[in-house]
Each structure stands twice: as C-alpha cells, then as structure tokens.
Symmetry: C2
Subunit: 449 residues, 2 copies
C-alpha cells in the first residue's frame, strides 16, 4: 500500500487488457546534485525485502474495493498479486554516476509497475544519505564520526535508514538506539544540556553521570561556560581517578568549536588529562568538518546530525525508475529534458593501472563489453540467489571503493565530471526506438488508430 494511486489505476487497465508480458524497469539517477562528484548505491537490502513481501492484506483489499477507484474484478487480481520477477543490481556501497542503472527489475508489467514508488522511496533516500556521509568520511579521515540525526530526520524510518546508510558509508556509529538493535550498528551517546540543568550545579551533574554509567563517560561542557566546565572536568577526573573511575571525553556543542577545542585541550593537558578526548557537535556538515580538520582543531570525534540525515544541501536525488523494454521491445521516454536510454543495460567499469576508477561504459546487457560489470544478478523468480550481505561487508566494500576514487572526485568542491561512455549498440538501439516512435506518431496523425 506504500504506492501512488496511479500505479493501481494503471494496473487496473493492465489486468483488464491482459498486459502482463515481461517488463524491464531500471532505476537510475538522472543527474548529480550540485555538490556531489559521485554517488554511493545503498538501500538494496530493503528493496529486496520489500519485493519478497509484496502482497495485499485482506483489510487493504477491502478498503481498496470500497474506495471508489477500483472494480471488484481488479481487487481480486490484486489479492493474488506477488512479485515473481528477477532483479539485477549494483552491490550496496558501489560508487556510481548519472544514467547508470543501479537496479533492474524484470517481471510481468503489473508487478514491476506497482513496485516503482516504494523502490524509489527506499533506494533514493539511502543512496542520498550514504553519498552525503561518504563526503563527511572523506573530509575527516580517521575521525570518530557518529550519526546524531534521528530527531531531525523525516520520521522514524528516515532516522533508522539514515543511521544504516551513514554506517555503511564509513561512519563509526549512531545515537539511534533502534538502529543499533535492528542493524547491529555501534551506539554512541553522551548527555544532554537538560541533564546538567536538572542538577543545581554542573560538577554535581558530571559526578552523578560518571558514577552511574557502565559505558563510556563523555561529559557535555557547554551548558554555561565551556572553559570553566573543562576546568571542573579536569579536577573531577583527578578525583575520580583515585576511586578507580575515569572520564573518557568531553563534548562541545556550541560556539566556535575549533577555538573552544584548542582551549579545552590545553586545560585538560595542563592538568595531566591528555587521555580525555574531545568530541564536537552542533550543526556540522562536511564543509565544517573539513575546515576544523584542516585547521588542526584538536577534536577526536564529531556528531553529525541534521545536515547528514536530511542531506540538507540537496535533500533529494533526481532518481527515476523507467520502463526500458516491454514484451521484448525496447522503449524510451522522450519528454523534454527527461530522455532515457532504452533496453536492458550493463555498466562496465574500467580502472587505471593503479586500480583507480578511470571511466565507465554504459552498454546494452547483450553487448560484449570490457571492464568490470557492475550490475549483478541478485534475485531470480522472486528468490534471492545471493545471501543478504552483512553491513560490515558492505562497509568494507565502500572503503575500498572510496580508496579507488580518482583524486579529483575526492574533494568537496565540484570536480571535472567522471566519464561514462555510451556504447555503440546502445546508441544504435536508441535511434531505432526513436524511428519506430516517429513512425507510430505519423501513423496516429494520419488517423490509423
């Protein structure tokens, strides 16, 4: 039921007209957002899970029958509908570029059509967040990076899937408890300002927290005066040490994070507490991370929230899922500015002698190609043919993929675009499809319908 009304109205026509031949849909991104030099595929696991479980409940069928848009015969068709098709896809964590399909569905037209809305909804979001997170990872190499975004994510599912996408892109963990439970992502947390405020004085708050925690002790020091609080932490840490307890870190959440971190580092070091780490948060994005890191701010880790989980500078991808073939005949959309490449396609990646990405080739799946084919078979007749990948494996793939990026694509600024060549066979097919459509158009104009 996570679908658009028009999918169901189209299905009603398809069933009534027996248009249930195999359809080929491909999911791709039309163009890169302004501040992205590459994208990172993510969300395949949830997409496959969705297809495996695609069916309507009795309650849903009853509602559909009564909502005024559908015939009883159509609702009966829906009651028997399950996904029976094939899926090929780029593994999660694969770097990709515009117009390259990352997912292909081959299934009877009604099944493949119905799935459009939710497939885009799942893949668009995680791909967007993983791509944003990868920029943070590249901007702050070796730093502890934690997703802090749940509260400003767009709903509960966005919070969960953002934590997953950030982790697979190389983040260290998340603050979202349910994401920790569901995806086995390491959890991180400190304390809120309200904890300090609920105590009548700041030191009492710090001491209470340190004495009642079983996990790491990270104290938030900017509720009133950051440097004054750092001095209190240093004194408390000395006191606690004598009792066998420790303070692991401090968190700074406001003001000039770099300047505060410098002063706090000095206060902690001067009092013999160089073991206490500094963690920073507060409206961070990849640009601020880069500035703090390149400025030499003594910050060990960062909490990145709103900008990450909303992909704030560009909160959507121009992601499409388009019919490329029906009943064995290649198809192509020609709407202004939204033209697509027809047919079943494969993406071949060519590396240079140092193992870095050199260029890609977008070709017909049936064309001979050279380079590494990126789309792999993952589902046949609705059954997975490869086991679900662990998030750790995906995260390791991402790390290898990011390491293989050419230098030009690693920076935050706009780079010279990566080259995706179009293979000859694909160019020829597009021309054939256009010629056929033009003929069909002429025929119609002559009234031969």
């Amino acid at each position: 039921m996570h679908t658009d009304l028009y999918q169901l109205t189209m299905l009603q026509s398809y069933f009534e007209r027996d248009m249930t031949a195999p359809a080929v849909f491909e999911l791709f991104v039309r163009k890169l957002p302004e501040n992205r030099n590459f994208l990172l595929a993510a969300g395949l696991e949830q997409a496959l899970n969705y297809l495996e479980n695609l069916r309507f409940t009795e309650a849903e069928l009853d509602w559909l029958a009564g909502c005024g848009h559908f015939s009883r015969a159509f609702v009966d068709h829906l009651s028997a509908l399950e996904f029976s098709g094939d899926v090929d896809a780029m593994p999660e964590g694969t770097v990709f570029f515009p117009h390259e399909p990352i997912l292909r569905v081959v299934a009877p037209l009604p099944e493949a059509q119905l799935a459009e809305t939710r497939l885009i909804n799942l893949v668009n979001f995680q791909t967007m967040i993983a791509s944003k997170a990868a920029r943070c990872v590249l901007a702050a190499p070796g730093k502890l990076l934690v997703d802090f975004g749940l509260r400003r994510a767009h709903g509960a599912e966005a919070g969960l899937l953002a934590a997953r996408a950030a982790y697979l892109a190389g983040f260290t963990g998340t603050s979202a408890v349910l994401a920790g439970k569901m995806f086995d992502i390491p959890l991180y947390g400190t304390m809120a300002h309200s904890f300090v405020q609920a105590h009548d004085d700041e030191v009492a708050a710090f001491a209470d927290f340190a004495r009642t925690q079983s996990g790491p002790i990270v104290l938030l020091i900017d509720t009133y005066d950051t440097e004054a609080a750092a001095t209190k932490v240093a004194r408390l840490a000395t006191e606690l040490k004598q009792q066998g307890l420790g303070v692991d870190g401090v968190r700074i959440d406001s003001g000039d994070l770099g300047a505060h971190a410098q002063k706090v580092r000095r206060i902690l070091d001067d009092s013999g507490h160089s073991e206490i780490t500094i963690f920073a948060s507060g409206n961070l994005d990849e640009w601020l991370l880069e500035r703090l890191v390149s400025g030499g701010a003594p910050i060990d880790g960062f909490g990145v929230g709103t900008h990450l989980v909303t992909a704030a500078d560009y909160p959507s991808l121009d992601c499409a899922y388009k019919l490329q073939e029906y009943a064995g005949i290649a198809r192509r959309k020609r709407s202004e500015g939204k033209e697509t490449w027809p047919g079943r396609k494969q993406v071949y990646r060519v590396h240079d002698s140092r193992g870095r990405l050199d260029h890609d080739i977008l070709a017909l799946a049936s064309e001979p190609g050279h380079g590494t084919p990126l789309l792999q078979p993952v589902m046949r007749e609705a059954k997975r043919i490869t086991p679900a990948e662990s998030l750790g494996d995906i995260r390791a793939r991402t790390a290898r993929q990011l390491a293989a990026l050419p230098d030009g694509l690693r920076g935050l600024g706009k780079a010279r675009p990566y080259v995706t060549e179009i293979a000859d066979g694909l160019i020829r097919l597009a021309a054939e499809v256009d010629q056929r459509s033009n003929k069909a158009g002429d025929a119609e104009d002559a009234g031969q319908t």
Copy 2:
C-alpha cells in the same frame, strides 16, 4: 526505542539518583528558516499517540540488558516505565513564531526526557511540511493541489506524514494510497509515462486507460510530443463522448509548463473540449506555482512532490525541546547562541480590529495576560482530555488562521518579522535564573562542591 542512546544513559543516572521529580520541557523553534514568515503547528496527534503508547517490549528490554551500556537494575526500571504526565499544546493548524512553545510536557524527569527524540522527530517534520504546504496554498489560491511526493519522501513514514501535513495545510489530496486509507485524505492519480510507453502507440494507451477506469480519467500527454498528444486527446474525447465516456483532464509533466498549457488549452477549446482540465506537475515549488498562476497559465491543478515533502529549500527546523523547570525551580540553557526562556510559558495572541494577527506576547503561564492564550490543556495524567481532532476540523482551522495573516506575512518573500513581545514576568525570571547560576558557578569555582 525510537530514541537517542543518551536519553537512556541519562535515565540510568536519574533512576540511580532518584531524580524523578516533575520536569517541565517545552518544544519550540529557535528561528525561522530563511524563506518562511510564519510556521504552522502540526504533528500533535502523532505526538500524543506516541506518549499514550510509550513503553518497552520484553524483546527490547532483553536487548538493552545485553547491549553493554546498561545495568540490570536500570532495565527493570524501564520495564515499568510509562508516560504519566500532562501535555499542553497549540492545536494543529495554529500559526506560530520563533521561541513560542507549541507543546509543553510536565512529567517525572525520566519520562519527559525519554520522549524528547521522538517528539521532536514527529513535530519538527509535520510542522515543516505543513508550513511549506501553506506557502503553496497561498501562492496558488483556489487551485487543486495534490501531494505527489511519496517516492522522494525520506522513507515511508515521511511520505505518510507529509501527505497528512499537506492536507491539513489546505492541499486537496495526495497520491499516497496508504495515507488515503489511514487519514481519509482524498486520493488523486493519473498515469505514468511507462503506461504510454508499454503501448505501441499513444492513442491506444489513452483509449485503453479511458475504457478501463472507474475513477476520473486524466491522460498524461508529454511522453513524446505534448501538443501532438493534446490533439489526439481531443479527437479521442469526441469519439468517447459518443459512447457516453469522457476525458476529465490532461497532465503535463515536463518542459515550459505555462507555454505548453496555453497551447494545449487552445487545442482542447478549439475542438470543443473546454470541459477537459489541465493538470501540471514536474519539480514544482511555491515560487513556480506563483509564477504560473500570476502569469495566467490556464492550469487547473498542480501535483507538488519533491520540493514539498522534503521542504527542499530548508529541510529542517531549528526545533528544540528544552528543560524549563525541574523540581519546582526554573532552568535555562545559556550555551552561546542557544539561550532559552525559562519556566512554564503561555503565548497570548492579540488581533487587530479586522481580526488579523497583530502581535503575540510570550509570558509565564502564571502571569496575567491579555489576548487569546494559544496553548491549551490536551492531556492530564497520560489521559487525553480532549477528543482527537478530525483532519477536516484541523484543515478548517488552518484556513481561518491563514485568512487572518497580515498581508505582509502572506507573500513568499521575506517580510518584516512578526512581533512577539516578552512579558515582564518572564524577563524577571530569566534574570533570577542567571543570577542563581552565576552564584552556583562561583561557588563551584571556589571548590565548594
């Protein structure tokens, strides 16, 4: 479990230290996004529902006990935790401004603290979308406006709640089927390009669709050539009329929507089909709506998707939920740039002689105020004291609120900010709280801890 790890670590300390006295938290927005002159409160229904159902399952408790962050004693505390407190709030659909609390929770500290993450997650998102949708409604008065955003919403919940928020703000309906079922929002849909492409010619696609639908017939005409398709639709509509069937509308989804609409309108009118409406979609936002409407484009309705459901120009609000009082003592956060007003507050709204908003007064709830108090009691001891409002009633309230906006705030551009005065009692309390904190700080610095 939709919470941040730090909420649970803080709760562990609160329980161990018996810090379970009543706490007062207020949810507010610190500042307006760049292109907003007002905000529209939304999400209260889901927030109350969350509080009513706040508890941990056995499986969740087991996981928490084993995750390494918590003591068994604490997990036992959690097993008994339910929300037992009070809530006051602005009704959904109320216009509000920065620093004005839209929701107040009074509950034992652990309960009120735990709820922070999900309350912000729910209220931040719907308020953001309702506020964006209200701008579309003001930009295109009297037009049919349909939420088309599910596929690019950030996950499933975002798609559902965006449909709800847009509808309560004045949208006509949504394409999201499940939102129609869950919230009784009118559903709208047309057809996709793939429907046209799956047919060997365009007219056959149009005819098939028209002959197999029980709901409205809206034909998508930009798959190949918009004006050529409009001519085909006109011819088909004449043919269908003789069979007692009709075409309700056409949809244009690409190119210069205004220019195409002019030509299509002429084609339809010249062939005697002035009854066929024109619907437009494709990357629309409130600015484009305003341009098309003020330019006189003959478009009857608009599908607004990505920009609406992601609030693309500003995909988060600076929404906070802060401790304002604990154990009867007012509290205040003083972090740089993030200072809050302490104590339990009320917002009074003063209208001018024509019933338009004139100014607001932010006061202590205990202060005598004049004007209309906006925060109303909605929950006492975890029980709702007012029935859940229908979405229709909320939508009607929004319409009244938008009609009462001063002219300056109705435009899309930045207006002179609306005035929210701070009442004397609140100013005095903030000064007292600061004086007390300073004293506490001095005492600590002198080592009296």
